[in-house]
């Protein structure tokens, strides 16, 4: 297929660079492609410059890249997620701009537009939502169950490494070659070698396979952590709801990711080795791909949204100064959703020609999910009922979520009906629906959680005013962008249209573009909030760790937490252990039971696997076989070789723990606690004068 295939560089040559296209065929399309690549390269150079100028290479290496601390790994996941979010949002704005320019016009070539919707979807699902959620779980969950780390700290590091490597290979596709045009679902036979012989689908396949392995390992890690590492007395029935949602999410990861990896690998076998799993001929059948993909794809939605439901549960309870209403109902609802999510995958292709009976069964199964979801919404409202609600930034997101999410739920029930789905499937109505579920359902929750847990992670509060502005921009921007898409969807506009002829779409699409600009400004204000908050950090420090008068164990320790999390592992007697301790006056007690603490040593194995797997993917995409063989061998050597190093723990002596903890306690005792009226004043050092009342 490729004339210039060489042994040394495979099918890589000068034509693989977008600059070549610009020189040969200058036009708006090529300029946009090159500017995108340039922005990325400049970004990389700026980062390298800053690291060098401020001599940050060593701390970056020893404090972060080689760290096995679940908190730092969680933070790195989130940083990665924010980077990818920036690219995903910009791509969304460019696509909205293309469609807003009117019927029959636009500045992008069809192929370029197709790459945009393919990378946008792939990035937003696999490299924004997943890392964000995994990051929060990493940071919060061990603290909430009273553990010192996750069950497998090094595997955790490897998960991060693989996810980041896969995301980076997507960034590389921006400057070397092109990405797939087959959408985030990559349906064959369109993505097969016959119809798409180029490198695009191969970038997709390897990014999905490698990040899929990373995510699966995370799922195993979190499940084992919750099953085996809870503090004494932390029965499952006493866990914060977030941890319950993490169990469900981990189970979903463990069972849902393998079908995706298998589907992608089989597609790879078709493309690389002339197999015929999903080709038109020789017995291939793309319907098998559709089934495998959505067997993953539907649970995927819930493995993202469930932990966010958990975050919302924590947030609504904290800011209503009230116990979470309907804990048992929420646990049952979460579990029901997790189970049901495996029984509905067929609703993604009601239109594939199966019988009415099958469609009706899957349609009804899909609607069943609305029951536990509805219960959750009512439970959150009941939590606020008879509370004392504070409208901090996370609560604004929560309110926006509740209102918008029921609309997304409504359109979900509409789509669950096969009869209507025949009409709105593959239209912008569908696009509006899943953005309506994923943006308020997942992203708003992540942004709420960002404002909620940031002080815990970094020791200072974020700027409240800019946080509120970000929230309002997101909520209003979302509405202006996506509600019009419902309308054009009903008017019959197919998704993934780089052009159209119906002029009646134009006003709605222009409106959607304005909304997209608001979302872009929300992203900018979000970054500004971070900048201002770092600048003003000394006025907003919360060293005592409980700035919101919160309820769960992660707030009982200093902010940022010590690397060993808990000086003394807490013993839990009730749900909402920290709230209970504050009410009974037993928080910040000092029984002298300090012990030596064993922690995993730093190791470079994760970052090495990150780099190696990145090179491995690149070599596979470009058919550089010698490099594939070399890197495969190195990966095996590294993993097996590393397992011979048994001296991988270090000990923090009890005396040091005592000294640090006692010093912190002494400072705390010398500080007056503050009530909620002073939540945003510099006096709020994270020592809450609790307003939670005792048992009635």
């Amino acid at each position: 297929m490729n004339q210039t295939h060489s042994d040394l560089l495979g099918r890589l040559n000068l034509d693989s660079l977008p600059i070549t296209a610009l020189i040969k065929n200058p036009g708006t399309n090529e300029i946009v492609a090159n500017v995108a690549g340039l922005v990325m390269l400049v970004g990389v150079l700026v980062v390298l410059f800053i690291l060098t100028k401020f001599r940050l290479w060593r701390p970056l290496w020893s404090d972060w890249l080689t760290s096995t601390d679940h908190k730092k790994i969680g933070i790195m996941y989130v940083v990665f997620g924010i980077m990818m979010l920036a690219r995903g949002v910009i791509e969304g704005v460019v696509m909205r701009a293309q469609q807003a320019m009117g019927a029959g016009s636009g500045f992008l070539e069809p192929d370029h537009f197709a790459q945009l919707f393919s990378t946008h979807g792939t990035i937003m699902v696999f490299f924004v939502a997943v890392p964000f959620v995994l990051g929060y779980i990493n940071f919060v969950m061990p603290l909430q169950i009273g553990a010192r780390d996750v069950a497998f700290p090094v595997m955790n590091q490897i998960s991060l490494g693989l996810t980041v490597a896969a995301g980076m290979i997507l960034m590389v596709s921006l400057v070397v070659g092109e990405f797939s045009t087959g959408g985030w679902t990559a349906y064959p036979p369109y993505t097969g070698a016959r119809f798409n012989p180029g490198v695009g689908p191969d970038y997709w396949i390897w990014a999905i396979v490698v990040s899929g392995v990373g995510t699966t390992l995370s799922g195993i890690n979190f499940a084992v952590t919750i099953y085996k590492m809870r503090a004494p007395g932390m029965l499952l029935s006493r866990m914060p709801l977030f941890c319950w949602t993490v169990i469900c999410s981990s189970i979903l990861i463990i069972f849902a990711m393998p079908p995706l990896s298998v589907a992608a690998l089989l597609l790879g076998a078709d493309r690389y080795m002339d197999f015929h799993f999903f080709t038109n001929d020789l017995g291939g059948n793309m319907m098998n791909y559709a089934n495998l993909f959505w067997l993953f794809g539907h649970p995927e939605v819930y493995l993202l949204v469930l932990p966010v439901y958990g975050m919302y549960s924590e947030i609504v309870s904290t800011y209503s100064a009230k116990r979470l209403y309907g804990y048992l109902s929420l646990v049952i609802a979460t579990m029901s959703i997790a189970v049901l999510s495996f029984t509905v995958w067929l609703h993604h292709f009601f239109t594939m020609g199966q019988s009415a009976l099958i469609n009706a069964v899957f349609g009804i199964a899909t609607m069943l999910i609305a029951i536990p979801t509805g219960v959750k919404v009512y439970d959150w409202m009941a939590t606020m009922y008879r509370g004392r609600i504070r409208f901090n930034v996370p609560m604004i997101y929560l309110v926006g979520f509740l209102i918008l999410f029921v609309i997304g739920g409504l359109t979900g029930v509409i789509l669950a009906s096969p009869t209507v789905d025949f009409q709105v499937h593959n239209t912008l109505f569908l696009v509006a629906h899943f953005h309506n579920v994923l943006i308020p359902g997942v992203l708003f929750g992540l942004l709420a959680g960002y404002n909620y847990w940031f002080p815990k992670a970094f020791g200072f509060r974020l700027n409240e005013r800019l946080g509120k502005l970000t929230a309002y921009l997101w909520i209003v921007g979302f509405m202006i962008t996506f509600l019009p898409l419902y309308v054009v969807g009903l008017m019959g506009m197919p998704r993934r249209s780089y052009s159209y002829t119906d002029t009646e779409f134009v006003p709605w699409l222009v409106l959607a573009f304005i909304g997209a600009l608001m979302i872009l400004s929300a992203l900018l204000v979000f970054l500004e909030q971070l900048r201002v908050s770092i600048r003003d950090r000394d006025q907003n420090r919360v060293p005592f760790g409980d700035p919101w008068d919160a309820r769960t164990l992660e707030w009982s320790i200093s902010a940022p937490p010590p690397e060993y999390n808990f000086a003394i592992i807490p013993t839990v007697t009730k749900r909402d252990a920290f709230a209970e301790a504050k009410i009974t006056g037993q928080a910040y007690g000092s029984d002298d039971a300090y012990e030596d603490i064993k922690l995993p040593k730093n190791t470079p194995v994760g970052i090495m696997l990150c780099v190696l797997s990145g090179v491995w993917m690149f070599a596979l995409v470009w058919w550089i076989w010698w490099l594939v063989a070399l890197v495969t061998a190195l990966i095996f050597l590294l993993v097996i070789g590393w397992s011979f190093f048994v001296d991988n723990e270090r000990v923090i002596p009890a005396a040091q723990v005592r000294q640090e903890h006692q010093a912190w306690l002494a400072k705390l005792k010398a500080t007056p606690p503050v009530d909620r009226d002073k939540e945003f004043s510099p006096e709020n050092l994270g020592y809450a004068k609790t307003e939670l009342a005792g048992d009635a």
Binding site: P189, M286, M367, A382, L410, R496
Partner: protein
């Protein structure tokens, strides 16, 4: 909350949707099931509005109660009925679970009935004879074959009004999704396989038909006119196609089936007698459609099959 209420809600929801969508697409030609031109799309629209109305029972309480709770229980009010440890109430639990369960139960019956009644595979009962059409998805145009009439067409799917149209679909390329929204929903078309779609138009007029599954650079141009005609007009149309059409044989099919837009194919194949962007064919080989489907079944690579036939 009785039937009356449901009806009122339904009317409210319908009018809201009509204001939102109906007005903007209200013209004789239709691209959307929101202004249906056949009974199936009309029922799909009715079903769509029904779901919205029923679901509102669960949603309106959120819209009403949420602002109320937020205002009444905001911290600055220092409300006296602060109940920080209230976390369970049996009557409330029962209400919370039973309302969504009841709604989904009602919806399930509606979905069960509608899914069976509007099954795209089910033949449509009518006193008028059925028009059989074979649909082949190509990159990037639809080919319509009328095996009983010995004609074929690209760019226009004509049929008499009030006559059932029974379509069998396949593609000779990647998967596509065939939809005439004003008549019925979409169905996938896949190479080596056939799917079915039955439609009927209740009034004459032109509707947009399209592919909704992205299949490359010409995707958005893969549209056609679905033309519901009075029976006499349809007779004339068939005669016009017969007299103006070129033969659809291996050569012309080879030109038609390679990747090209409809306009490009038109430039290569059409004669001056054919309307702009339309290509008309006469069909001598009534097994052409079966040949396209079976091409992928020989245990051979579809691409090499032709050359092997030649060498034999």
């Amino acid at each position: 909350m009785g039937l009356k209420m449901v009806n009122r809600l339904r009317i409210f929801a319908s009018s809201a949707i009509v204001v939102l969508v109906g007005v903007t697409v209200a013209h004789a030609e239709s691209n959307s099931f929101m202004s249906p031109m056949g009974p199936i799309a009309a029922e799909q629209k009715a079903h769509f509005l029904k779901i919205i109305a029923i679901t509102m029972i669960a949603i309106i309480p959120v819209f009403v109660l949420l602002p109320f709770i937020l205002l009444k229980y905001r911290r600055s009010k220092k409300s006296v009925d602060y109940r920080p440890n209230w976390g369970f109430s049996l009557p409330l639990e029962i209400t919370m679970w039973s309302i969504p369960i009841a709604i989904i139960l009602v919806l399930s019956f509606a979905v069960w009935k509608a899914t069976h009644a509007l099954d795209p595979y089910a033949a449509i009962k009518s006193d008028n004879p059925t028009i059989n059409v074979q649909v082949v998805g190509l990159d990037w145009k639809w080919l319509f074959l009328y095996p009983d009439l010995g004609i074929g067409s690209v760019g226009e799917l004509a049929f008499p009004v009030d006559h059932p149209v029974s379509m069998t679909l396949t593609t000779d390329t990647v998967m596509q999704s065939f939809m005439i929204s004003a008549l019925a929903g979409q169905i996938y078309a896949m190479a080596g396989m056939t799917t079915k779609l039955n439609v009927i138009a209740s009034e004459p007029g032109q509707m947009q038909g399209e592919n909704t599954q992205y299949n490359g650079a010409g995707f958005t141009g893969q549209k056609f006119v679905a033309n519901a005609m009075e029976p006499a007009d349809f007779e004339n149309w068939v005669q016009a196609v017969k007299s103006n059409g070129i033969a659809l044989d291996a050569d012309s099919y080879a030109v038609l089936s390679k990747q090209s837009t409809r306009a490009e194919a038109h430039a290569e194949l059409a004669t001056a007698d054919m309307p702009k962007d339309m290509i008309y064919f006469t069909l001598s080989d009534t097994k052409l459609f079966d040949g396209i489907v079976h091409k992928y079944h020989g245990g051979m690579d579809g691409q090499t099959e032709i050359s092997q036939e030649v060498s034999q």
